[in-house]
């Protein structure tokens, strides 16, 4: 095995035995990126010089943070001090923050090494990473296909062994769907578990920071580091962070797992349904109790999501006006003209579409019919989940209705593209934690299983995911990216 192929815990074993160094690992990572990223195109910005300097410093000073010497990637939505943060948008094309987002800062405090910033759909609006203002990222399993989105760069980089782990954000499925498409582990925590401070906002009441990793054990470690109350984020929750490592015991005996019938409908690829059903059998074999349940309001989640998310986005993205930072049109005749022209040039089509949708939903005379109604639906969806979690520990479903689709296949059809989120969106509406883990392949493309837990039950997800992983090998499979 090459260094770049290893998980965090495998690298840490080598480091602790002094069989490698932070510098060797970092060099291996950049060699790998150089070898494959011209095809995968996961990174927007690479920070090689800084990363190598940091690695040397860690080696020389013997720094022992919990991820000391481990390279990492960040979705380009995380503000990084002194490193360009574009959100894959022209409007922030030249933006260099003076601050680190809390989640990134916690990784740096543990001596993790930033290798670069990862591609995404512009402002996290999309499910394919084709909405990046710069270039699309390709799925490492089939370079003619999308990696999913919006955190497509993060998922693809981990899948392509370009980075041991990466952070992403998930507003409607933006971690789980690309994790599923790329065959890696992705965890979206409970709303409030991880600070959103310093993460460019898309839809504030739905956005949540999470992680991509090669296996569940790594995922648990990163969750341990990034979770917890942040005084700078009033929506972060002040609850103790459990020791997630203790959940890595492989024991699911007696665990009650539900699968909602609404998530196994004809719109969902039958091959995927079959593979998830197999996984459920596996859980039964391991001693879990599996039953079908109903989440009756599921079908309303997607339209309600697109009202809530776009409404919040219309306000969140209003600050990009060319006044203080980012792109400004200097030809404008007056200030209003400057606002419009800067925004017209700076935002891509999908972002504009969502700003328009959201502005409309909030407009006087439409508010009650759209935004307020969507909030009520949101409550019903959360109630659906609560009812199930009164009797069950976990809900299992497919993560996506299809496997990774072709680049360009859905780009002209926003509604079809929105349907990608149909199985992931309800979780965000209810603020619950959920994970996608590799559970099989169809025609050479990975399939993800979604695990959904009650609020702040990340331990349960990790426990169930680890048990499954212990009994399968899907997470060990890597795409065959031939090195030229």
């Amino acid at each position: 095995m090459e260094l770049y192929q290893l998980t965090i815990h495998e690298l840490q074993d080598l480091l602790s035995r002094k069989e490698t160094s932070a510098l060797e690992i970092t060099q291996a990572i950049f060699a790998r990126i150089t070898a494959v990223d011209d095809r995968v195109r996961a990174f927007i910005t690479l920070t090689e010089e800084e990363a190598l300097a940091k690695a040397r410093e860690i080696d020389q000073q013997g720094q022992y943070g919990r991820i000391a010497g481990i390279p990492l990637g960040l979705k380009d939505i995380f503000c990084t001090r002194g490193v360009k943060t574009t959100c894959a948008s022209r409007i922030l094309g030249n933006f260099i923050p003076t601050y680190d987002s809390t989640a990134a800062g916690r990784l740096f405090a543990e001596h993790g090494i930033l290798a670069g910033k990862l591609n995404m759909d512009e402002f996290a609006m999309g499910s394919s990473t084709e909405q990046s203002a710069f270039f699309p990222t390709c799925n490492p399993w089939d370079l003619t296909r999308v990696p999913g989105g919006s955190s497509g760069g993060s998922a693809a980089a981990v899948a392509a062994d370009e980075i041991p782990f990466a952070l992403g954000t998930d507003t409607g499925g933006s971690i789980r769907q690309p994790a599923s498409f790329c065959g890696v582990v992705g965890l979206k925590p409970t709303y409030g578990r991880v600070s959103r401070w310093g993460v460019v906002a898309y839809a504030s009441s739905l956005d949540q920071v999470g992680t991509f990793a090669k296996d569940v054990k790594d995922c648990a470690l990163i969750m341990q580091i990034i979770s917890g109350k942040d005084p700078l984020d009033s929506t972060s929750v002040d609850l103790p962070v459990p020791d997630y490592q203790t959940s890595l015991d492989g024991d699911v005996k007696g665990m009650k797992i539900a699968y909602p019938r609404e998530y196994f409908q004809p719109g969902i690829d039958p091959n995927i349904q079959e593979i998830i059903k197999k996984a459920l059998l596996k859980y039964e074999e391991m001693g879990a109790i599996v039953e079908e349940v109903s989440l009756p309001h599921s079908e309303y989640a997607l339209p309600a999501y697109y009202l809530v998310a776009t409404a919040e986005a219309s306000a969140n993205l209003a600050r990009y006006d060319g006044v203080r930072y980012g792109l400004r049109d200097y030809e404008a005749a007056n200030v209003i003209d400057m606002f419009s022209r800067s925004r017209a040039e700076g935002f891509g089509a999908e972002v504009k579409r969502r700003i328009m949708l959201g502005s409309y939903a909030l407009s006087s005379g439409y508010y009650d019919a759209y935004y307020l109604k969507a909030l009520k639906v949101r409550r019903l969806i959360a109630d659906d989940f609560s009812r199930v979690f009164a009797d069950f520990d976990l809900i299992v479903s497919p993560t996506t209705p299809t496997v990774a689709f072709k680049l360009g296949e859905q780009i002209g059809d926003p509604l079809t593209l929105y349907m990608n989120d149909i199985l992931t969106v309800p979780v965000n509406m209810a603020g619950l934690p959920a994970m996608s883990i590799p559970c099989g392949f169809h025609e050479g493309l990975p399939i993800g299983m979604q695990l959904i837990g009650p609020a702040f039950a990340e331990s349960t997800l990790i426990k169930a995911a680890f048990a499954y992983e212990q009994n399968t090998d899907f997470h060990r499979l890597r795409p065959a990216l031939e090195v030229k």
Binding site: F78, C79, Y99, S101, S234, T235, A318, R319, Y325
Partner: protein, 482 residues
């Protein structure tokens, strides 16, 4: 103004709260710093920044609510008010829309010779915007600069019911509200620095009609005077328009101080759709009864209580009371002086008269004055003892105001001691009467003016230092002996 119309006024007052840091970040709120030196990524709307609510601002709001007899909401929330403007960094203002922190209070005022209770609809917390600096006039400036020091300074918007019926009442409301905010110690209330701002909603209706007329909102009222003048102008404009058969258009108008007129800014059709929605970055605010009780128990004396005390203990009129409770500093001055001099009416007269005039002339606040309560009390005591005359006292007071010297020193330096000694005055009177036989004859012939001439001569000879009452008495005795 036509007697057939009734004017209806409601006021929206914005008070900057006196917190050390801004409402959603830790930047300083101090006034007058170099532009953009009190800013951070949060209050300048950088990507990924989140608001954290300042508890001190909430306490100020609770205090104000209690002082205005409002109900303090157990549960309230923040909302985003969306509009684009270069001084609004996030392009939305965090405010409170449907669930304000305070609602349903009142404020008692006295104006136009009657006591009026003005309802307080609500008071809500919000953040201030930055400000634009233009080169000259906004319409011709080649560029505008943005100063974000004020962006994120906490504001309390206090909305009254349309309960006022004249510009005088509106002014009285504003003055009373200011004194309450000052006593509650929640705002500096400096209208000239913009820490207290006011918009007026004005409408008129035929006397006796219940339905309210169409209202206009007047902005840019930067002083009590502007408030009064603008309302007077606007009411007159509306009445004349109606009498000419025109319809009043619901619109926002601005007060042009220089020209003394209100001008249309934008009509209802052009009004912003602010697209309010709940602020997702801040959890709803819950205020426990314990918190309210704690704030209540730490409330300083308010103008109402102080006024009652002044009337009951010192017998001041309600007019005097209003003036003595304009600000905590004025009341403090009064109370401190009264500890050293017992005549409350005299203290209040001097404070409202000479002191107030000199402060106004010099653009000073009472706490900045060199003349302190002890000096005023000393002077009043000298006046009572007859050491100085009322006229001398005015001179002494002006000097105390200018130099802060004590009255004894001033009297000595200026040679101002009053001559009340009959032995000193009698020879002088004798001399002046004897030197003016013709005037003495006039006096005998019953010419009143003659008496005044002698008084004038005596005062002149003593350089005004003779005790006038004493001179009067002695002169009369001397002349009656003729």
């Amino acid at each position: 103004m036509s007697k057939d119309f009734e004017i209806v006024i409601g006021l929206e007052v914005h008070a900057e709260l006196k917190t050390r840091s801004k409402i959603f970040c830790s930047c300083s709120t101090a006034f007058g710093a170099e532009p953009n030196t009190q800013v951070c990524p949060v209050c300048s709307g950088f990507p990924g920044m989140l608001p954290v609510l300042n508890e001190q601002a909430v306490e100020c709001a609770i205090k104000t609510g209690l002082a205005l007899h409002c109900e303090i909401a157990e549960f309230c929330k923040f909302d985003r008010k969306n509009y684009f403007y270069p001084d609004l960094p996030k392009a939305y203002q965090i405010s409170q829309f449907d669930l304000p922190i305070c609602k349903g209070g009142y404020l008692d005022i006295e104006a136009d010779g009657e006591k009026i209770r003005v309802g307080i609809t609500r008071a809500h917390l919000e953040e201030d915007a930055g400000k634009l600096v233009h080169q000259g006039d906004i319409t011709t400036t080649p560029f505008s600069l943005v100063d974000l020091n004020r962006s994120g300074v906490p504001l309390l918007e206090i909305v009254s019911e349309p309960d006022m019926r004249s510009a005088t009442q509106a002014r009285a409301y504003m003055e009373k509200l200011r004194s309450i905010l000052l006593f509650a110690d929640v705002s500096d209330c400096k209208m000239e620095e913009g820490s207290l701002r006011c918009d007026a909603n004005v409408s008129v209706r035929p006397r006796g009609q219940e339905k309210l007329g169409t209202r206009t909102e007047i902005k840019n009222l930067n002083s009590f005077r502007a408030l009064e003048k603008a309302i007077e102008y606007e009411a007159k404009r509306q009445i004349e328009a109606i009498e000419d058969g025109e319809e009043i258009v619901q619109e926002t108008r601005t007060w042009d101080e220089a020209k003394g007129v209100t001008r249309s800014m934008r009509s209802k059709e052009e009004a912003h759709d602010y697209r309010y929605f709940p602020e997702p970055d801040l959890p709803p605010l819950r205020i426990s009864q314990d918190w309210v009780d704690k704030v209540r128990s730490s409330m300083p004396e308010l103008p109402e209580q102080a006024g009652r005390r002044l009337m009951e203990q010192h017998g001041l009129s309600s007019y005097d009371v209003d003036l003595m409770t304009q600000s905590p500093q004025i009341l403090q001055f009064f109370d401190d002086t009264l500890r050293l001099h017992s005549d409350a009416k005299a203290v209040s007269n001097w404070m409202m008269g000479d002191l107030s005039r000199l402060l106004n002339q010099n653009g000073m606040e009472i706490q900045e004055a060199k003349v302190k309560p002890a000096l005023l009390a000393d002077m009043l005591n000298l006046l009572d003892e007859g050491t100085i005359s009322g006229k001398m006292a005015k001179t002494v007071f002006e000097e105390m105001f200018a130099s802060g010297k004590d009255p004894q020193t001033i009297i000595k330096e200026k040679g101002l001691v009053q001559i009340s000694d009959a032995d000193a005055l009698l020879p002088l009177i004798e001399e002046i009467v004897n030197n003016n036989p013709k005037v003495l004859q006039d006096y005998k012939n019953g010419k009143e003016k003659a008496f005044g001439f002698f008084i004038g001569q005596i005062m002149k000879a003593t350089r005004g230092q003779a005790n006038p009452e004493m001179v009067n008495k002695l002169l009369k005795e001397r002349l009656d002996r003729e």
